[in-house]
Amino acid sequence: MSDQLKVDVRKIVDELNKGNFDVMDDYYSQDFVSHQPPFPDIRGLKAYKRYHANMRVAIPDLQMTIDELIADGNIGTMRYTDRGTNTGQSKTFPFPPTGKQVSWSGLIMSRSEKGKMVEVWNFADNLGLLQQLGIIPSMG
């Protein structure tokens, strides 16, 4: 089970890096929920696919790298790094494109039921990302 989860996650990341969002249909339940504080939850696979598509409009060359995968029963965790150039504007990035090259990391914890992901918690370095984009000044 745990090993299969890792295989699935590698496949999902590979396909998302090519912009193939439909791959998610095979691995996520329809009523899937993503928690990504401090932003509102994303409910339903359709909305989650739209979120990924919007991300790619804002950062068309977005590439996710898997830094580490840990699995325990039906719970999986991925530490990742995202890299890309902010040349577009979308609902996920509701500000004029900065043209900046950005790189940020995070952790996603997933919970699966009957072989499909039903819930994820995504903790990304949003503060660092907004600082790199120049939207929030660097502190301290």
């Binding site: 995070g106 952790l107 370095d125």
Partner: protein, 141 residues
């Protein structure tokens, strides 16, 4: 150490933290451990870590830590958590006049264990949400 033993150590040490007892941290974190917590600089070593905890409790004297999920694979432990507290003090952890705000902050970290102690951790805490709740950054989108 078995997975259950390491889990109960995490629960016990953070339970003691909630009572204001920081010394049990010595049992969980190695003397030369490193904490990566982007976008803030790395924390190097147990002494600096414990001072960070003291400063944190000064900023939030009623701080309480809750473990929401704990998973173990081999030498890796993932802890998803939240903490809540009222910002009534000022310290290097929060170099602003106290806001008086009560906040809840979530996070998740990967811990690497050697000889029963954490030697390295990657922690992602919702710092943006924390700053927003404190009113230091406006809420967005």
């Amino acid at each position: 150490m078995t997975a259950e033993e390491i889990k109960s150590k995490f629960r016990r040490v953070w339970g003691e933290f909630n009572k204001g007892n920081l010394d049990p941290q010595d049992e969980l974190y190695a003397a030369d451990w490193v904490l990566h917590q982007p976008p803030t600089p790395d924390v190097q070593g147990l002494a600096v870590w414990k001072q960070t905890l003291v400063d944190w409790r000064t900023a939030y004297p009623d701080v309480q830590w809750t473990i929401e999920e704990l998973i173990v694979e081999g030498d890796s432990v993932v802890m998803r958590y939240n903490w809540h507290g009222t910002n009534t003090g000022e310290s290097t952890a929060l170099p602003f006049p106290p806001t008086g705000k009560q906040i809840v902050v979530r996070g998740c970290g990967v811990n690497h264990i050697v000889g029963g102690k954490v030697v390295e951790a990657w922690v992602f805490m919702d710092m943006l949400g924390m700053m927003q709740q404190l009113g230091l950054i406006p809420a967005m989108g």
